[in-house]
Point group: C2
Chain length 137, copies 2
DNA sequence: CTAATTGCTCCAGTGGCTAGAGGTTCAAGA
DNA sequence: TCTTGAACCTCTAGCCACTGGAGCAATTAG
């Protein structure tokens, strides 16, 4: 049996966050000690590790809830789980693409400033005048 | 003179967001019509475009406020503006790096699922068992 | 003049936590 | 066994950057 603090140390998920996941329905309400403190077992530990991993991968709480529901029905076809992973991959790729545009523009802005004062600072000019941008955004 | 709706169309910033920026002190309180409606001029339009651009580049409201304050003092040295841009560039690069790790892992997860049912779905197994991961995260 | 559109303020909600107040329980050492 | 201090409990509010709705007032096109 693990206390909430044990679970926190084992999974690197902060204590209030564990309680939050319970509230959000990602974790079932666990057993309690006589003094009303939460007591978790192995399955809860594993589920929390699952949630942590999925969150690290950028999945939304709602997607995780769907995956947990799915994993409770091992006989169902797994097309949904597949779809969730593929959608997540697509959105990660989109985010990378747009961040790379930002990187390029910021690089230009941040490295081209040769001015000494704000009046002729390239950073501020570039932010004021969109026409100084190369790309479209 | 532009109404708030005009400004919204011209800058692609939603009307409530413009009011929010005013509340946050990024935009000065504008003139009002006799009927108490906001009336903006060119300088407000330009400042909102500046804000929009900076937000698109991922700058936080607070950084934008600093830049606006700076741009009101064209005689000061521009080291601060430079620093804000460079910090932003560094954080964009960090985000790209971690997203690329996610991309690699999600790709593995999402393309390796050959199972038919949830019971043997690679997506769910990979999320449950961290040991299936290549990298460290 | 009328009707549709746009504007106003104020308040509440989003997501995913995080932190604090004020109190209770637990576990280890004396 | 007692004590002390850490860890736990619930409840509430706050974070960021908006977004949306209610209920009403002003503007504008026909």
């Amino acid at each position: 049996m693990y206390s909430i603090g044990d679970l926190s140390r084992l999974t690197k998920v902060k204590v209030p966050t564990i309680r939050y996941y319970e509230q959000m329905g990602l974790l079932d309400a666990p057993e309690r000690s006589e003094g009303n403190q939460r007591r978790f077992g192995k399955p809860e530990l594993e589920r929390l590790a699952f949630i942590r991993h999925a969150r690290d991968l950028g999945l939304k709480i709602d997607s995780i809830r769907q995956l947990i529901d799915l994993s409770g029905h091992p006989d169902r076809p797994c097309g949904d789980a597949d779809r969730i992973a593929k959608e997540q991959l697509a959105s990660v790729r989109e985010r990378i693409a747009s961040l790379r545009k930002l990187e390029a523009e910021l690089e230009r802005i941040a490295t081209c400033c040769t001015g000494e004062t704000v009046g002729d600072c390239y950073v501020i000019r570039a932010l004021s005048d969109h026409a100084l941008c190369d790309g479209d955004h």
